[in-house]
Structure formats: structure tokens, C-alpha cells
């Protein structure tokens, strides 16, 4: 019967046998790209779906606070939940110890009470924040037992042992690398095991490098070597089904090298501490007391396209939802006391005072 015949046409599309959307942890993006989740649902949404396969994500640290670790933890845990091979390098002597701090997804029994609370909270959110983002909260999660694209991680609970055992996890201490060529070879060996078929991606890998130019590393004063490594890593990752996330302290490199580093990034983020007890900030922003820190999105990966991503806001507050899950929220100006006289009411792109010049509403 004609209905059973496969439809043929002269146009051929490069589609694999297994649709990528059925591979847990991966989803199609625009322009032939494939995304994997950052492990933080809000960040995935801001970035248009997640981290693009083949891209290099760079996170600039703040020496005053370890918030970049939160991003890395979620990133790494998400990979392990989806059984994606993981490569982790850090300046610590025993990097494997960090795996014990990775968060576990919120368990199902917590979900039921969470749903009930979410319903109630929805009405509150409408009233106070006029935001519609919560409508999209559950788009990607599915209740029929399938693995979610982005898990909701409970930062208070360590990852279950079974998620770690039997996984392909490669840990390297940067102190053990006499030079960067060694580290490059380790990354190259790791990526070689991830199959690379253009039309049919069945597995993706994650590389996580923490505090790359930290002083404990032998190469921290060799700026050109570090740039060379990053360029080579970027090329490696670009030709493989993987995402590399790297954090580094920008204050420890010279300004010109910092700019080169920023240009090398496909996606560029930075985290900043929020000073405790800053009365001016407390007056300016709602929910200031609950903020852990600030996340800035400087650049979003533009693979296979020339159109830049212009975000409505580039600074987000990092908060803990129910004291366990990392959420990102747009900054909202607190209602202004009419007697002060000089402020603007809407959260537009105008800056209010020189103190908040670095914040972008």
C-alpha cells in the first residue's frame, strides 16, 4: 500500500537512525546544533536551550566567592545523571574528592510536595513579579519515568553512589601536569572515546576544568602556553560531541590575555559575589537578602549562525529555591520611595546610579 511505502524525494536530510531527541540529555537546537543541559534550568533557558555541543564555555570567577563551583557542580552532575562521560581537572591534589560534593537530583517523593507548593507559589509569583517564566518550568520534564533533559538538583544532597559507579569519569590534577601538552593529550584521549558521527549523535561528553590559571599550576605564569592550550582544546571540542566548561580567575591574568581568553570563549559567563549588608543594594533590589551572587552572561555561542544573541538582561541573581536548588532571576528594582526623586520605575536598560553601573537590568 502506498501509505506503508517510505516517502522518497530528491532532497536528502542528514538525519540519523536514532533521533537525537530520544537520546537522554540531548536536544536539537537551531541551525543543526545539538544542546546538552547546563544542569540549571534557568541558565538553559537564558542560553536558548543549553550548552551547544562543540562549544567552549568559559566562566570567570570572583576571588571573593566560590559561586563558579555551583555552576560546575550542576554541569557535572547533569552529565553523570545522563551517563555522559566526564573529564574533570582541577588544581587540587585529589580532584576525585570533588565528586563527593556533586548534587543529587531532587527525588520523586519530594516532587509530589513540590508540585503542590508550586501551584500555590505560582499565584504569589504572578502577584509580585509579573513574570511568566514559570509557565515554561515543566516543559522539559516528563512525568512518565523518562529522564529529564535538565534535572532539578538538590545542592544539599550528594550524588547517589550508583550514579558515580560504572561511569566513565576521568579526573586529573593540574598539579600533576608538568606542562599543558600533557593535559591536552589527556583531553584528546578522553574525547577520542566519544563516537563522532555527524548525523547520528548517541553520546555526548563533558569536560570540566576548574580554576585553570590558579597559582598552584606549574603553567600559571605561562600566558601564551595557556592561550595555546585553550585554542587547541576549543578546536578539539569543536570537532567532537562534547562541551568543555572552564573556570578561571580573571584577576590573575594580564588584561590583554584576558581579552584574548574572552574572545576564545563561545559562551562567556562570569559570577560575582554580592556583598553582605550592602544597604544601598538592599534598597535598590528586591530579594537582595536571598541572593547568593550574580551571574553575568557576556556572550552566547554562535555556532553555524552569524546572528548575535541579544538578551533582555545580562545580569541575573543566583538564589537557592527552597534552600536547595539553584535558580537564576532577573534583577528587579525595588519599588522606589517617591521622595527620593531620581529613579526610573521600570526595569529597562537605564542605569540608576554609578554604584550599580556594573549591573545590567
Amino acid at each position: 500500500m502506498a501509505a506503508n511505502k517510505p516517502r522518497t524525494s530528491s532532497f536528502s536530510r542528514n538525519v540519523g537512525v536514532v533521533p537525537t531527541s530520544q537520546v537522554p540529555g540531548l536536544k536539537h537546537g537551531p541551525n543543526g546544533t545539538v544542546f546538552l543541559s547546563s544542569g540549571i534550568a534557568d541558565l538553559d533557558k537564558i542560553l536558548g536551550g543549553g550548552f551547544c555541543l562543540g562549544s567552549l564555555v568559559i566562566i570567570m570567577e570572583d576571588p571573593d566567592a566560590p559561586h563558579h563551583m555551583l555552576l560546575l557542580r550542576n554541569f557535572m552532575s547533569q552529565g553523570l545523571v545522563h551517563k555522559q562521560p566526564l573529564f574533570y581537572a582541577s588544581p587540587a591534589k585529589e580532584p576525585r574528592g570533588f565528586l563527593g560534593t556533586l548534587p543529587n537530583p531532587v527525588s520523586l517523593k519530594d516532587d509530589k510536595s513540590r508540585e503542590h507548593d508550586t501551584e500555590q507559589e505560582k499565584t504569589l509569583r504572578i502577584a509580585w513579579q509579573y513574570k511568566k517564566y514559570f509557565e515554561d518550568q515543566n516543559l522539559d520534564s516528563q512525568k512518565d519515568g523518562k529522564v529529564e533533559y535538565c534535572s532539578d538538583f538538590d545542592l544539599r544532597r550528594p550524588l547517589d553512589r550508583h550514579a558515580l559507579s560504572g561511569q566513565c569519569i576521568d579526573c586529573v590534577s593540574l598539579q600533576d601536569c608538568p606542562n599543558l601538552a600533557t593535559l591536552y593529550d589527556r583531553c584528546s584521549t578522553f574525547l577520542a572515546q566519544i563516537p563522532r558521527f555527524d548525523g547520528n549523535i548517541t553520546l555526548a561528553g563533558r569536560i570540566s576544568i576548574q580554576s585553570f590559571s590558579a597559582p598552584q599550576c606549574h603553567f600559571s605564569d605561562k600566558e601564551w602556553d595557556m592561550l595555546s592550550f585553550i585554542r587547541s582544546l576549543k578546536s578539539l571540542v569543536r570537532s567532537s560531541n562534547a562541551v568543555a566548561a572552564m573556570t578561571f580567575p580573571p584577576s590573575l591574568v594580564s588584561p590583554t590575555v584576558l581579552k584574548r581568553w574572552q574572545h576564545l570563549a563561545d559562551t562567556l559567563l562570569s559570577v560575582r559575589a554580592v556583598p553582605d549588608e550592602d544597604k544601598d543594594l538592599a534598597k535598590l533590589l528586591t530579594g537582595y537578602q536571598d541572593m547568593l551572587g550574580l551571574l553575568n552572561v557576556h556572550k552566547v555561542a554562535r555556532i553555524n549562525t552569524q546572528v548575535p544573541v541579544i538578551l533582555e538582561a545580562t545580569t541575573y541573581s543566583m538564589k537557592l529555591h527552597k534552600r536547595r536548588s539553584l535558580v537564576l532571576e532577573c534583577l528587579n528594582q525595588a519599588p522606589v520611595d517617591g521622595s527620593s526623586g531620581t529613579s526610573h520605575a521600570t526595569s529597562g536598560s537605564c542605569s540608576v546610579s554609578s554604584k550599580t553601573g556594573a549591573l545590567d537590568f
Partner: protein, 262 residues
């Protein structure tokens, strides 16, 4: 509002390229400068299409040295702009050199060898093309120079040497050399930077910058084009600076004067 699909958009006018002249004119160096906030890569894409799509120059060749992206990236982008790089590559009109997957560099000596091998390839390609019938111009493009500098272990001298070689090749074979570099990498450097030397050498400098008011969804940035004057059929034109805004789309780029976009 003019799109790049029409014969004359603001960028092409500022560059002074037109089909009769070909824009080559005895060797030209065009420098594109951009910043982290505003990428200038779209100008490269526009120029690739212009150089490959002209009906008056069916045998012209674009030699593309990529340190930044694989072929598939440019292929997809140009396809949306109506230019099939795959076909052009097969027809040897688009010669793509992948410099991404180089061997891990082993110091200055390795860098120099690399430089010589790269230049040798370009020279051979250009010489071969120039011997073809109907040849008018070649275009040599580098994306981007700052990555080349990293690949050459930070030796800006080697990069400048390379540019000088390309420039003399361009003069000899009537080529256009187009390079992309990042202005903000050099703006923090006190000593005379390689960028200044490139700006001095260049006949045309295009700067892509964000707007002073920051980023916006309908205006992606501004271009400042300094054309030091190229010789056209009727004589040499004076140095001109033009400034206008742009918005990048998938299939074209809109260029417009501030406030004139409807």
C-alpha cells in the same frame, strides 16, 4: 534601509567596491576590527559572498585561512545567504585551509615552520589561480589574526612578517587581503601594538563596535569604515570615514544611518 542583496548597500559603498573595478586594483589590505561585545565575522561572510557571486569575475578565487571555525560553520551561514560554499569548494573557487586542528605547537621554531608552510600553500594557490584564463582577482581571508598569533606562540613579529608576505603577494597578483582582528585585545597594551602596524598597512579599516548606549535587539552595533582612498578608473579618491549602524540577520545584514531605519 538597504540590505546586502541589493547592488549597493552602505558597506559596499564605503568600501568602494564595484563590479567593473573588481576592488583588487594592485593589491589591497582590508582590516576588520571587532570586540568581544560585537563580532565582526558577519563582514567576512558578506565579503565571501560578494567575491564569489560577481558575474563579472567568474574565475576569481577566495583563499580562506580559518583558525576560528570549521568549514561546516561557514557553509551553513553562507548557504542561508544564497551562496553554496560546498559547490564553490568543489569548483576550486573557494579554497579552505583548516588551521584549527594543527599539531600542538612546540615553541618558536615550530611556529616559524608553521608560518612558512601556511604561506607556501597560499602562494601556490594564488599563483595557480593567476595562470587561469579569465583570472581577475584572488582574495585571501584570515579568520582571525589574533588566533594566528596564538598558534604562532605569541610571536607578533611572525604574524607581521606573514602579513607583509601576503601583502607583497597581493601586490604582485592583484589580490585583496582581508583580515579579522580584535581591537580590544590590543587596547590595553602600552607599547606600539601589532594592531597599529596593521592599521598603518591597511588600505581600508572597518571597525565593528557596540553602540554607545549598549546592546539592542534592533540595532546590533555600528561600523566605522576608514577608506584611505583606492584608485578607481577615474583617479584616486580621498580618504573617507563613514559611520553607520547594522543589524545582522540570518540571510543578510541591514546597514542604515542612525535614525533612518523604519
Amino acid at each position: 534601509m538597504m540590505s546586502s542583496n541589493s547592488a549597493n548597500n552602505l558597506l559596499d559603498e564605503a568600501l568602494g567596491f564595484n563590479d567593473e573595478c573588481g576592488g583588487g586594483g594592485g593589491g589591497l589590505l582590508l582590516l576588520i576590527e571587532d570586540r568581544v561585545e560585537t563580532s565582526g565575522a558577519f563582514i567576512l561572510h558578506h565579503l565571501i559572498k560578494r567575491r564569489l557571486s560577481s558575474p563579472n569575475r567568474p574565475n576569481d578565487v577566495v583563499v580562506f585561512l580559518s583558525f576560528a571555525h570549521p568549514f561546516s560553520h561557514y557553509d551553513r551561514i553562507l548557504r542561508k545567504m544564497g551562496c553554496n560554499l560546498g559547490v564553490q569548494k568543489e569548483n576550486k573557487r573557494f579554497v579552505y585551509y583548516d588551521m584549527l586542528n594543527l599539531n600542538y605547537p612546540d615553541g618558536e621554531k615550530g611556529a616559524e615552520d608553521l608560518l612558512l608552510s601556511v604561506y607556501g600553500k597560499i602562494q601556490k594557490t594564488v599563483e595557480l589561480c593567476s595562470s587561469r584564463e579569465g583570472y581577475k582577482n584572488s582574495t585571501i581571508m584570515i579568520d582571525d589574526i589574533s588566533l594566528m598569533e596564538v598558534a604562532l606562540c605569541g610571536s607578533s613579529n611572525l604574524v607581521l612578517d606573514f602579513l607583509h608576505y601576503c601583502y607583497s603577494l597581493a601586490t604582485q597578483f592583484d589580490c585583496l587581503v582581508i583580515i579579522l582582528n580584535h581591537e580590544d585585545v590590543y587596547s590595553t597594551v602600552d607599547v606600539p601594538s601589532p594592531l597599529l602596524q596593521m592599521e598603518y598597512l591597511a588600505n581600508i579599516v572597518i571597525k565593528a563596535e557596540p553602540l554607545a548606549t549598549g546592546l539592542a535587539t534592533d540595532v546590533h552595533g555600528q561600523l566605522t569604515v576608514l577608506n584611505k582612498g583606492i584608485c578607481q578608473g577615474s583617479g584616486c579618491s580621498k580618504s573617507k570615514i563613514r559611520n553607520f549602524h547594522f543589524r545582522v540577520k540570518e540571510n543578510c545584514v541591514e546597514y542604515f544611518y542612525p535614525g533612518s531605519r523604519t
